[in-house]
Symmetry: D2
Subunit: 149 residues, 4 copies
């Protein structure tokens, strides 16, 4: 059960339809696994392409999957004809990331008609053990989005 | 001329050697074009793989190239045996990004022995005209880095 | 019960001794009401001096009491001889603040030997009803603090 | 000469009229010294009331005068009937602050009809020498402000 109610009962289908245009998400190999009103989770298997020179998950990977899950969490609450774009994202990197899998969870903290405030968390999973590697906040700006597929 | 002096006169070669391990940077197609003490610039041609569902540059692309250029700007000032990792990055998205090319500039604002404060800017270029699409700040933490290639 | 254990069993007394030097906190009239390892709460009655021109709590008041409670939450986990200073604070203003009382809670999310990551929340209380008006994150830098009173 | 043009030619008077309601600003003793379209400067003499327990300027003081100068810089560009409130402020503390005087400069980086992006800097002055102690960014949300005095 989500703490929010979407203004669009068909929000999950609307988000799934949007994913085909998420080219950078596909380049990374990330996918959404759980879409609720105001809370979106996604994950991917970690591979060499996601790493930086110390052998850990690239900070850009972490920021990207936070942006995606927080953005879709905000979008899940939008009425038809409205979309969101990121105005500000702030990411704290708590631990170096390594493991088999990476998981991001984006949540709406405070929805609004002009701005939506979100929080996000990223975990890596190794041998079934989760480690919190980043924690974030974002301000999403509500825009008119002509096309709701 | 840079406003900073590196503690390692060979800093440009040290950074170039690090780039081979920047797998996520290579996946995107980004490369560094100008390395000065405390200021690093990079760019890439924009392609469909960098976009989100509205046809603009993905916020994760922008955050990633900011993280890379600010991180290497901080690293350029490190003495041998020291590296940096991102503690916090905060990105403001000023304009939607589109065009032929994307350019990121990372600069050190305040170096320190434990933390380095940086600023960054991202521009898109279309028909020779630059548009500032994002502006950022980051806190880089200084770490012991056993291997200086 | 706190999820953290302090390295200094006498941390509450140590923090109380520090408060006499918190001149700006006293100017505002804020005081700490609950000190646990890694979690510090404080509050004050709201008065005209805390307001801005729209009649709401000044954003600077909110940022200040977040900085104080997150700072002392980090400090509560420090061993003797170590202190903390704020490296970065990022505050999201979720709702305009008004009411009889304002309450801030600072919590450690991830302690470390060089940096401590914290989160904070601010509520206003009116007729017994709490409203979340701000949510924040901070990066605290660990410093050598000669004087532990 | 400012790089911006205000939509309200009388913006300086409008800001001066607002200051009487800035109760928390008056409690601190801060005042605006230079008001241009998109750029506002203010200062105050430092006194014991502005300090924290290490004898340096309180982080809350710094955050407050950044919020004030960035907020009024954004407000200076607003048309009649519009105001601004802070959505997000992120402050990096570069150096400990001490001296005779503290000076804050807020500037608009990118104005917009829904959001205004700003940057800010704080300096302390001692014996005529300026030290940059903090650097900040903020996202200001444009609101309908019934009363333009």
């Amino acid at each position: 059960m989500s703490k929010f109610q979407s203004k669009d009962p068909d929000f999950e289908r609307k988000i799934r339809n949007r994913l085909s245009g998420q080219h950078f998400m596909h380049l990374m190999g990330f996918d959404l696994t759980n879409i609720k009103a105001g809370e979106v989770t996604g994950e991917m298997d970690l591979a060499q392409k996601h790493l930086q020179q110390y052998g850990f998950v690239h900070g850009g990977v972490t920021a990207t999957i936070l942006d995606i899950t927080m953005g879709f969490a905000a979008y899940s609450l939008m009425p038809l004809g409205k979309g969101v774009v990121t105005a500000n994202i702030s990411v704290d990197y708590l631990n170096p990331g390594s493991g088999d899998k990476i998981i991001a969870i984006g949540e709406v903290e405070k929805p609004g008609s002009k701005m939506v405030f979100c929080t996000g968390k990223v975990y890596t999973e190794k041998d079934g053990v989760l480690t919190l590697i980043a924690s974030a906040r974002s301000v999403m700006a509500v825009i008119d989005a002509a096309i709701d597929l």
